[in-house]
């Protein structure tokens, strides 16, 4: 039987981990468990089931200073609560953390802020505002020895010591257990418009997106959705287009948005017929895209592929996917497959000639055990990663195997 522990503060958590470390007992760290289906299943060599550590009890806002653009929260705080609190002051987490619930369980389940940072995924605004880790200014955490440590601080400009908090962002809880996370926040845009181009083929869409990205008009979203996936949108301008749509997001102060929309229309008119979405519809569309909600819910496998933007269309063509979406001007490709057959990973990765990273994000557990969920790394890099892991968690008790081989005990 699995035991679950629910520490309520840093001290209890540290005690628990010290004990587990001394006894070499593996632990599965969870916030509210919404992203357990992401990454590799936690496993231990041999047999047994790791004890679960429920971190949702270490929750709450430590401080929020809107005029300083900084918020500090405990990891178990629900992401939605953080988003709501910031929205009340017209601010936001600019990296647009995903609501992975749609992909993983078919319903909205955004989980905790600790979980969002631990998987480290960034949404459509990545192209302009930066990645999740760019917004993590500092953290307190407990390492695999049960020692409490911190790194970073609460100010944006800081190069004192190594940014361990950035390394822990996207580490799937394999390096340490967060107890406090300090984040940079940004003003929410006053207005958000979206320019749509209808009916482009993927290669041509990437050209249009490149033209927009390389313009001086500070666009903050660059996506392409094929006709079938667009038809699933709740935004009628998108679903009724009956064609593929290429979407370019423009955010900011009112006058500026209007000016830039006009300029972009001129720039992109040669590509095809244009349409536009205003704030409400824009909000809805970019959320649907962010969460890959536009992919059919019954497609069993979904891959998230990060590549140089100009290779986006090639990856789509080579992938044999049954459904797909393109974001980040082609730099992020979501690929869906109806059946859970093995071997898609090898096919996708073979097409990634310009480098990149393919991550399996939705699959039955059996497939997640067989496929290389994370991009296989060159031997030297894999060895180094395993040594980095051992430096945080020498007995390998945190989420063993969650990030693949590098996160298994003894990999170093």
């Amino acid at each position: 039987m699995t035991s679950t522990y629910k520490p309520t503060d840093e001290k209890e958590l540290a005690e628990l981990i010290s004990w587990a470390s001394a006894e070499a007992r593996p632990l599965e760290l969870v916030g509210s468990g919404t992203k357990r289906g992401l990454g590799c299943p936690v496993r231990i060599n041999g047999h047994g089931i790791p004890a679960k550590v429920d971190l949702s009890g270490i929750a709450g806002v430590v401080f929020y200073e809107p005029e300083e653009l900084v918020v500090s929260v405990r990891p178990g705080t629900p992401l939605e609560e953080v988003n709501r609190m910031l929205a009340e002051r017209n601010q936001m987490l600019a990296f647009e953390p995903l609501d992975w619930g749609w992909l993983l369980s078919g319903e909205s389940k955004a989980g905790t802020i600790g979980g969002a940072i631990s998987v480290g995924s960034s949404g459509p605004r990545r192209v302009k505002a930066g990645a999740a880790r760019d917004f993590v200014l500092g953290a307190h955490a407990v390492n695999g020895r049960g020692e409490c440590f911190k790194s970073g601080g609460r100010v944006v400009k800081n190069v004192t010591g190594y940014d361990l908090h950035k390394l822990m962002t996207g580490a799937y809880g394999t390096l340490g257990a967060f107890t406090e996370i300090t984040l940079k926040v940004l003003p929410a845009p006053e207005k958000t418009y979206t320019l749509l181009i209808h009916g482009l083929k993927p290669e041509r869409a990437v050209e249009a997106l490149t033209a927009a990205a390389n313009s001086a008009f500070e666009v903050s979203g660059l996506a392409h959705v094929p006709a079938a996936e667009a038809a699933r949108s709740q935004v009628s301008h998108v679903s009724r287009a009956d064609r593929a749509i290429t979407a370019i997001r423009v955010e900011g102060h009112g006058v500026s948005v209007m000016h830039r929309m006009e300029a972009l229309k001129k720039l992109l008119a040669p590509f095809g017929p244009l349409d536009e979405l205003h704030s409400m519809n824009s909000g809805r569309f970019w959320t649907e895209l962010r969460d890959a909600w536009l992919l059919p819910p019954d497609h069993q496998l979904v891959w998230r592929v990060s590549v140089p933007p100009t290779s986006g269309a090639e990856i789509v063509a080579a992938s044999g996917a049954d459904s797909w979406l393109m974001d980040w001007a082609g730099g992020l490709v979501w690929l869906g497959y109806e059946s859970a057959a093995l071997g898609q990973g090898a096919r996708i990765r073979a097409a990634m000639t310009g480098g990149g990273h393919a991550l399996l994000v939705r699959a039955p557990e059996t497939v997640r055990r067989e496929e290389a969920v994370f991009q296989p790394q060159a031997e030297g890099l894999a060895k180094l990663s395993a040594r980095v892991k051992a430096g945080f968690d020498p007995s390998g008790i945190f989420n063993p195997g969650r990030m693949g081989a590098v996160s298994l005990p003894g990999a170093a």
């Binding site: 522990y5 004990w19 911190k150 500070e218």
Partner: protein
């Protein structure tokens, strides 16, 4: 620690130098004292140390050979870019090798469609912008030293600049690196894509101060140049009023491209030096730069002007031409050389504080300056709370350099005590090494050092920098297991 020019190469290094000559062209191995002398310090000139041997490799394979040889000989090695660092990061280690990356000076790939440039580490920061500006692009981080400093040094230091407020530091603007480890292994991390594969090692290599590996290639993001750039020159009766104005601008949802402030002492110095025409009656001036589409910039100029007026600005000028904008900046950009005219030497600090602590911290710095008898000029990145107090001194007056250093350390302690940090962009190096415990506990620092051990278990790479205590990696890696003796935690279980 001055070394006489006649000092011969230490005898135990001769064998190593001979091995270097087998893998590097002869002129790339420097052993004579006169040629080694220019490498004895970086721009933090308070500390000097002659390097044992200077090597200037030309290829990645040579870098790998040099590192392996140093490891095998047990000789420390210090990487160096242009030597403009301000914290002693590139200061040689006694009896060690200095590895200068100056020959890696080529841009390898300009890829507009993917908005990135691949460069060798010895290319200067400005060199990257120069390579793409005719096509309407630029590289955003812009340290004031950008004509000279290298992109490799920028990555190692996670350097900033006046436009960090909107565009971030180096870490936010790079996509990939090639790194050679102490074992001579060549690792490629990241590339032209945006998501990290596996652990985000790029985020710790950036800012690693030459302790983790030698960077041999960097892929940076480039941005399209903004349509318009304008600046406001705002003057205030007090630093407090200026600080309040900055807070209001940010609170109103505006993120300017840069916000820089100068105090009266600095204003006088730069007027004397280059006469930018700053207001003669101001206690502080603020330069607020806005960039973007013309309509937006004009609108924001109006917004910020209104906020400044509300906060008691005694003068607001908006640049009407590119010449005028550059004139506003002339004084700010000349602040360091202007300070150097006031006294033979200056010591520049780099603490960051929460913006709302600005007024009390600057008041306290004023008191400390008066008590010590040393003049301090304040010029700072006010938008992100990054202070650069310049302590003026004369190294020829006995005791003055020590007094300046002492005062500087007290100011950095003050920054930390209000929730700030020791260094915003210049790095820890040797200069702030012994202050690290002001911010970090032993456990915090040990966790950082374990990362160092994952890359360089023998600790040959830039040892003695950043960390005040050098722990052996075996000691840091040891697990003190008390199996069965650790109490089972009294915790709710389900």
């Amino acid at each position: 620690m001055n070394v006489s020019m006649a000092e011969p190469i230490a005898p135990d290094l001769s064998a190593l130098a001979a091995r270097f000559r087998q893998v590097l062209p002869l002129e790339c191995v420097v052993t004579d004292a006169v040629s080694r002398k220019p490498f004895e310090t970086d721009a933090q000139t308070m500390h000097r140390q002659m390097p044992g041997i200077v090597v200037l490799p030309e290829t990645v394979a040579q870098v790998a050979e040099v590192l392996k040889l140093c490891r095998d000989f047990g000789v420390p090695v210090v990487p160096r870019g242009a030597g403009t660092g301000l914290s002693g990061g590139a200061t040689p280690v006694p009896g060690g090798v200095l590895l200068a990356m100056t020959k890696f000076n080529r841009i390898l790939d300009v890829d507009y469609a993917n908005r990135c440039v691949v460069a060798q580490p010895g290319v200067t920061n400005l060199g990257i912008t120069k390579a793409v500006e005719d096509d309407g692009f630029y590289y955003a981080p812009d340290p004031s030293s950008q004509i000279a400093c290298t992109i490799g040094g920028n990555v190692a230091q996670n350097s900033g600049g006046v436009h960090c407020l909107k565009y971030g530091l180096t870490v936010n603007n790079i996509l990939g690196v090639e790194l050679v480890t102490m074992d001579g292994e060549v690792l490629r991390i990241g590339g032209k894509h945006l998501d990290p594969e596996g652990y985000d090692l790029l985020s710790i290599i950036t800012g690693s101060e030459g302790l983790l590996g030698v960077i041999t290639e960097v892929t940076v993001r480039i941005l399209p140049k903004p349509e318009t750039v304008r600046a406001l020159l705002v003057s205030f009766n007090s630093i407090e009023a200026g600080g309040a104005c900055v807070a209001d601008v940010i609170a109103s949802g505006i993120i300017p491209a840069g916000m820089e402030m100068m105090d009266r002492i600095t204003i006088d110095a730069v007027e004397e030096y280059c006469a930018p025409g700053y207001p003669a009656d101001a206690a502080a001036i603020l330069i607020c730069e806005l960039d973007g589409p013309a309509a937006e910039v004009d609108y924001l100029i109006g917004q910020v002007t209104a906020i400044a007026t509300r906060n008691g600005a005694i003068g607001v000028r908006a640049s009407q031409s590119e010449e005028e904008r550059l004139l506003f900046w002339l004084g700010r950009k000349s602040a360091f050389p202007a300070a150097a005219k006031m006294k033979p030497d200056y010591y520049v600090l780099d603490g960051t504080i929460p913006r709302n602590k600005l007024a009390p911290v600057l008041a306290r710095i004023g008191e400390m300056s008066r008590a010590s008898g040393l003049t301090i000029a304040n010029v700072f990145h006010v938008g992100d709370g990054n202070l650069h107090p310049l302590i003026l001194y004369d190294a020829n007056v006995p005791g003055e350099m020590e007094a300046a250093e002492h005062l500087g350390h007290d100011i950095l302690r003050l920054c930390v005590s209000v929730g700030g940090v020791l260094t915003g962009e210049h790095g820890v190096g040797t200069e702030k090494r012994d202050l690290m415990p002001e911010m970090f506990t032993d456990l915090d620092m040990q966790q950082q050092q374990r990362l160092k051990c994952a890359f360089d278990p023998g600790q040959h790479l830039n040892p003695g920098k950043v960390f005040p205590t050098l722990h052996r990696c075996a000691e840091l890696g040891a697990m003190h297991i008390h199996r069965g003796r650790t109490a089972f935690p009294e915790l709710p279980r389900f």
